[in-house]
């Protein structure tokens, strides 16, 4: 943050964005948490790839992996990952519902209706995945 001497003789004060800008309001905080959630989802995907590799290595390797994942620190990590995944999904559905301009006849569908449709689709898709897992 400094005053800048310009060739035209003016001397404006130029401010840098403070590191804590995202703490100024709830929406900034949610945005940064949503961006941060990408890190935890990436960790989950890496663990998933490792899990597949262990599965391919044989029953002993997979059982060892499952034992490791059953320990409290790994369970705690998965709880954190679940929290960020849900946070990302909820805030993303709420945000993206603002983008499309959908009309039914003369009426424009509200953001509330579109986000509700997003949540219904999310629940249906999750239920479909769970039913496939339970059926196998």
């Amino acid at each position: 943050m400094t005053a800048i001497d310009r060739p035209d003789g003016s001397r404006p004060w130029v401010r840098a964005v403070p590191a804590g800008w995202w703490l100024r309001n709830r929406r900034y905080v949610l945005f940064v948490l949503r961006e941060l959630s990408g890190v935890f989802i990436a960790i989950f995907l890496i663990l998933y790839i490792v899990q597949l590799a262990m599965l391919a290595s044989g029953p002993d390797a997979f059982a060892g992996y499952l034992r490791l994942m059953s320990s409290p620190p790994w369970i705690a990590l998965h709880v954190v990952i679940l929290f960020f995944t849900v946070l990302h999904t909820v805030t993303w559905i709420q945000l993206t519902a603002r983008i499309p301009s959908v009309r039914l006849g003369d009426k424009k569908l509200s953001q509330r209706v579109l986000s509700l449709a997003g949540f219904v689709l999310w629940v249906l898709a999750s239920a479909a995945v769970v039913s496939v897992v339970l059926a196998s």
């Binding site: 005053a3 401010r15 964005v17 929406r27 603002r98 301009s101």
Partner: protein
Amino acid sequence: MQRQVRLKVQRYHPERDGRPHTQVYQAPTGEGMMVLDALTFIKEEVDPTLALRWSCRMGICGSCGMMVNGRATLTCQALLARYPDEIEVAPLDNFPVIRDLVVDLADFMEKLPAVKAWLIREEEKPPVEGEYLQTPAQREAYADHAACINCMLCYAACPVYGLEPSFLGPAAIALAHRYNLDSRDQGEEERRPEVGAEEGVWSCTFVGECSEVCPKGVHPAEAIQREKVRNAIHWAQSTLAPWMKR
């Protein structure tokens, strides 16, 4: 007894001050009084050296945008009755401060013409042939984005613009989108080099605060995301099926 408010106003005199400082003023409140009224009271009755911009007092000119208690606000629309007894007033974030509450808007003034926010026709017809007609439904298509008053609240609220000043920014893209949606316009391809650039829509991370602070309901965040979709479709079409012209 008439309620008084304490206004903690950020002051900066470029010829005297090394950095801004806060000056505290008292101002009376009354029914229907806005933050701008308190500031003009200070300027007229207490301290004529206070510099601020304002003009219409009715949310049309877009001149009186400031940070009020940390939020980008059009001060002529900010009812004092809705604020606590102590109010912090500062110049708009993300812009150089010329003096006190006056910021330098030169960056936006360069960006606005770059997006060509006006009707572009491939061939202009002579005025004697009349107007370019439009149905109410065609007007409705861009009505949401047509009310921008260039107040710059969206730029002050946008952390991306604060961190990356090369970003074209919310208002400029919303205005470009408004014309891209206009049935009379044929200029989308002329705007694409600016709007579809890295510093255009793709710099936006969809924080969404620009739409929250907009006093006219222009929804810049939504306009930017819609422009991302339009540009992505254009890219896919021109890459995968270049023989198909939109």
